[in-house]
């Protein structure tokens, strides 16, 4: 997994609430057996007409935001399905950080497994960041995971919370499976105890 330490980049505003995983990556693109290549279909039905033409009004089609690396989004971002294709598509497009007032649980979890940092901020802070993002490509934000701060283009800085285990994994690009397998003996012990306590399971 790619490490995440600090990121300075263009933030794209997407104030719509309840942006769901079907919007992020529609189901016809879930038929891949790979993780990569989904960026071109990120937000497909909002981004392209039925015959594949770009919709100029859509934020990521606007010249200022074509290289966005941060999304500032409305409440409950990523609701819906468990498809990890949603963070894969964001990552493949180049988005490394999403900031909202809340995220759906599974999507939030999936981001951390892919080197994407989802940040929950209160509404008043998201409002400030949204306004900054709307200023376009010259408004570059900085996300510092080490210091746990987001800094706007005009220098306003806001702290955020992140789970310490997840922070550690992101900062170091660690693979969860490798870490868990270090606890294989605890899993063995649990299994043998469970086999006598709940043999039907």
């Amino acid at each position: 997994m790619q490490k995440f330490t600090t990121l300075t980049g263009i933030a794209a505003p997407m104030p719509l609430v309840n942006i769901d995983t079907d919007m992020i990556i529609p189901k016809q693109f879930l038929k891949t057996i790979q993780r990569s290549g989904l960026g071109k279909n990120l937000f497909d039905e909002m981004r392209y007409t039925q015959d594949g033409q770009e919709i100029p009004e859509f934020v990521l089609n606007q010249p200022a935001y074509r290289n966005a690396e941060i999304l500032i989004a409305g409440d409950n971002f990523g609701c819906g399905s468990s498809r990890e294709h949603a963070p894969w598509a964001l990552l493949d497009f180049g988005i490394r950080c999403v900031i909202s007032t809340s995220f759906a649980d599974i999507f939030y979890n999936n981001c951390f497994k892919n080197g994407i940092l989802p940040i929950v901020m209160p509404q008043d802070v998201v409002d400030v960041l949204m306004a900054d993002a709307k200023r376009g490509a010259n408004a570059r934000m900085t996300v510092d995971l080490v210091a746990q701060t987001v800094t706007t283009s005009d220098g306003q800085s806001f702290g955020f919370d992140v789970d310490s285990h997840r922070k550690h994994c992101l900062l170091n690009g660690l693979d969860d499976i490798g870490l868990t397998l270090e606890k294989a003996s605890a899993i063995d012990r649990f299994e043998s105890q469970a086999a006598s306590l709940r043999p039907w399971a």
Binding site: D105, D176, P199
Partner: protein
Amino acid sequence: MTAPRTLYDKIWDDHVVHQAEDGTCLLYIDRHLVHEVTSPQAFEGLRMSGRKVRAPEKTIAVPDHNVPTTLDRANAATMTEDSRIQVAALDENARDFGIHYYPVSDVRQGIVHIVGPEQGWTLPGMTVVCGDSHTATHGAFGSLAHGIGTSEVEHVLATQTLIQRKAKNMKVEITGSLRAGVTAKDITLSVIGATGTAGGTGYVIEYCGQAIRELSMEGRMTVCNMAIEGGARAGLIAPDEKTFAYCMGRPHAPKGAKWEAAVAYWKTLFSDEGAHWDKVVTLRGEDIAPVVTWGTSPEDVLPITGTVPSPDSFTGGKVEAAQRSLDYMGLTPGQKLTDIAIDTVFIGSCTNGRIEDLRAAAAILKGKKIKVKRAMVVPGSGLVRAQAEEEGLAQIFIDAGFEWRLAGCSMCLAMNPDQLAPGERCAATSNRNFEGRQGRGGRTHLMSPAMAAAAALTGHLTDVREVMGETV
């Protein structure tokens, strides 16, 4: 004496393998359900790192999302190339890693969340995961069940555990009894209407109260299935005699002395008096009406007697979202919901594709003809389909003008050829009314099987109580 605990607390405590200082836990997983869409990259990850499936005997796979539901599906030409590759990948992964498998040709094949309970894989007190958000369904048994992403699928395959932090406890109580014509689907949609799609974020919900107790196991599965639409990690219902009766004799349920021991343990699975709840929501069963969704979020729920709302009646970001929904759905504020004309009816999905759902729809349709352009019933599994044929339900659907399909996810998410055309309006018994969910530009109204059947008969959204001759 230990402090009073919720059902969630108890299941959690019994599955913690390791707890780190910061509270991050390694949770043991009893059952891992797998389907073709969210697993190929996980199996590929195992291959690349030379890892095996740690507990193949606890891992159950079935293809469901992509598979065609037409009667000619044995013909490979009914599938697109990419769908065929995905199903073939699951065939191969199941064989190579030695996990339980129900291929498309097996009569037991169906939607993973219908097959798991049907085969007795899902049992009370277990932890159940699947790379699918509707894993919440299995919570109906008092098992802690939730969806995971593909990285976590790989993690569970390799370690039989999941890294988790504990969620908060939320109680949703439905007091009293439901009125005639009101079903489990109306309960679960009404709860989401009341709490919003983010109302359960960070929580595990336990559904309780008389109306929940009075539901069958299948109704309870419908309720828990949509816990995820309310944002919750999982939904739970404490097991009782109905649960035990449902599980008994299923192919993978325990037998003999193991069964007795299991039931004794299952009887300890309830929330203790005085347990702590972080959030409590109470609805009166008598107040719940047959409902439909009008917008593009499952929280856009109204009683069928209502009218399309105005965006101005909302606040904050929901004003823009409601306007966008109305534009997408082609609806006007003030329009009566029962005036909305329907093109298509879809009965099926992991929410409402079980035998009782088909019975409820068939009871409305018996001896009548549909007035919509097309209508289809997609049973949740091959066994549900066989039972419906035995009971004569299939013939009722066919005589009414429905297509009688083979099992799969079908038009719930339209990954197979069952899709809506742009602008086509569908009365659906599935779980999501998102933009494009059932096909680009397709318009979805969620409702119960009985309500969908009523809409099929009249050609517009309809209060099923009128069809039933009930007084509203």
